[in-house]
């Protein structure tokens, strides 16, 4: 019997401890699974930070392989640029309900150290890592890098969040930041690589909605050498963050002002309110970064080693709720998904459109975190 699916949106959840205290994967698993209804079993995933403390100095590459034979090719590419410190199959568990709809690929993880002589002139170490990710995704058929940051990793695939969570044994991991997603693909295929989160270096994003400006955004970031290979709109989000945050070194609020830009009438209002500086900045950002503006209905969570930032499109066409309890910050599509893991948070609120919720680690200030490791 085919289970009847009802139309819904995607669902997202994030939990972050601002003291870098480890949280069991069980909580994010329960939170996202309570919103199972928002997905249709065609994609779910998790991103976790702080899961490889003993390998924290190496880049952790999670690679999805259509076939085990492709591993040697990936190994060869990695070997050219990195010293491979450790490589292993990511342990997975038998989840019979998954195999009814899909044949899971093989997941490998590599802990690597960049070879200094592989870095091109004018290139930073991170630039080189990005280049290798793009090379594998683009040139090695049947291999996709699903995460490439330090002390973090993405786990994703075709299935419901509980199925994917069981498959990767998410409850066994402990991290100080967790993101999760359940997917309801509408206009791009539901395949293992297309599930959220999308990551690059230590950026990870999960997204509910649709980026209608995908064409513009894609052309824009391709000018900077990024390659969109994962057949879905959300991917551009991760690359845009990398470009604006890491390469262009914009402050956090400026990045979000570029992506969920205020309307011109609201920018003019800043002038009426005599907020001259804000007015000038908003005007410049909208002008310079017009192709980086994300249009369409969306709610997004964006994580990196120093925190999580959640934000909505500028007229709030997707749900987004945040809560704080002590040092822990929760963000989700539905309040119930927060309450299911934290019954009585100190504060629960629905953020306004385009207004980012910034949950940074207590040990860092907003100005310091524009640049990743």
């Amino acid at each position: 019997m085919i289970e009847r699916c009802e139309m819904s949106g995607c669902g997202l959840a994030g939990i972050v401890n601002r003291n870098r205290k480890k949280i069991s994967g069980k909580y994010i698993y329960d939170s996202i699974t309570s919103m199972k209804e928002r997905g249709n079993g065609m994609g779910a995933g998790y991103a976790a930070y702080g899961i490889y403390p003993e390998m924290a100095e190496y880049y952790a590459f999670h690679v999805m392989l259509d076939d085990i034979d492709v591993e040697s090719e990936v190994n060869a590419v990695l070997n050219k640029f990195f010293k491979i410190v450790k490589s292993e199959i990511i342990p997975t568990k038998n989840v019979p309900s998954l195999y009814k709809k899909t044949k899971p690929p093989i997941f490998y993880r590599y802990f690597v150290e960049p070879k200094k002589d592989a870095i091109l002139p004018l290139e930073t170490e991170e630039d080189m890592v990005v280049r290798v990710v793009m090379t594998i995704n683009d040139k090695v058929k049947g291999a996709y890098v699903i995460s490439s940051g330090k002390n973090m990793g993405a786990f994703k695939g075709v299935g419901h969040p509980d199925e994917i969570g069981d498959f990767f044994e998410i409850k066994e991991y402990e991290g100080y930041i967790w993101l999760a997603h359940t997917r309801f693909p509408t206009n791009t295929p539901g395949w293992w690589g297309g599930a959220h989160p999308f990551t690059l270096l230590d950026w990870a994003i999960v997204h509910n909605g649709e980026i209608t400006s995908y064409g513009t955004n894609k052309r824009y970031i391709e000018m900077f050498g990024y390659k969109c290979t994962l057949l879905t709109d959300t991917e551009v989000g991760a690359y845009l963050f990398d470009l604006l945050f890491r390469k262009h070194r914009l402050p956090i609020r400026a990045v979000f002002m570029a992506m969920a830009a205020p309307f011109w009438k609201d920018i003019n209002r800043y002038k009426e309110l005599e907020k001259e500086k804000l007015y000038e900045m908003a005007k410049m950002i909208r002008t310079v970064y017009a192709p980086a503006m994300l249009n369409g209905p969306f709610a997004m969570l964006f994580a990196f080693k120093d925190g999580v930032i959640g934000f909505n499109d500028r007229i709030k066409l997707r749900p987004f709720v945040a809560a704080v309890n002590g040092d822990t910050v929760y963000m989700a599509s539905e309040e119930s998904a927060i309450r299911v893991v934290c019954k009585e948070p100190e504060k629960v609120w629905m953020p306004k459109a385009g207004e980012p919720v910034i949950a940074l680690m207590k040990d860092c200030k907003e100005e310091d975190v524009c640049y990743p490791a």
Binding site: R269, K316, S336
Partner: protein
Amino acid sequence: MEVRQVSEGIYEVICGTAHYKEVNKKIKELVKKGAQKIILKEVYGQRYIGTGIRGNVKIDIHGIAGNDLGIFLYGPEIEVLGNAQDGVGNTMMAGKIIVRGHAGDVCGYGMRGGKIYIEGDVGYRVGIHMKGYKDLIPTFIVGGKAGNFFGEYMAGGRLILLGLDKKPGEDIVGDYCATGMHGGVMYVRGEVPQRYLGKEVKVFEVNEEDMKILREELKGFSEAFNISVDEILSEPFVKIVPVSARPYGRMYAHRWGIASGVIK
């Protein structure tokens, strides 16, 4: 999910994370059995609670009511002892919904009858497309503040915004308030900046007739949350009504209709 009978006609259901289909099926079963009151405990976002049943049953919800609470509601009274999510009272026809907390986006969408009282704030797009017909006048009262697109495309009924928790300097309502409104009436306790209002509406001072309506409508809200009507009425209200009953009439009407004078 656990069900137990508290007393004659009163049942308690522990919902936990049970699927909404099971919870709603159980509610229907209990109503069929003659339940007058159903207490739902530990509710975690189960959707569509209260739909598909008629009559005078009362449903208490402890926890977080899920999306589309009381969608197509036809008679029952629902009380949420906690917060509600998006779409409270979607296309509701008759009955009453009380939320002792805040509620999310698109509440009261297409509402055509009954009463909704929210104690706290509401999200975006609340009261959009509300409508009324002859004796059917839906009432939606918000105790706190509202987000953007409040009462957008409103076609009937009464939308009342109180802003009781509003701090100085805060806006009681967001941008695009009453955009495209062409029926019904909106009462706001406080001022709405002109730049937030749609071009299709005008703001008036409330007259005696309005005060009578307000007094009458606020009675239920006052009883539900134990705030006196006089206290609510101690601050001035404004009335927002559309300037035209059919602002887009000429835009979409067939030329024949205009030429023959059927459409003015």
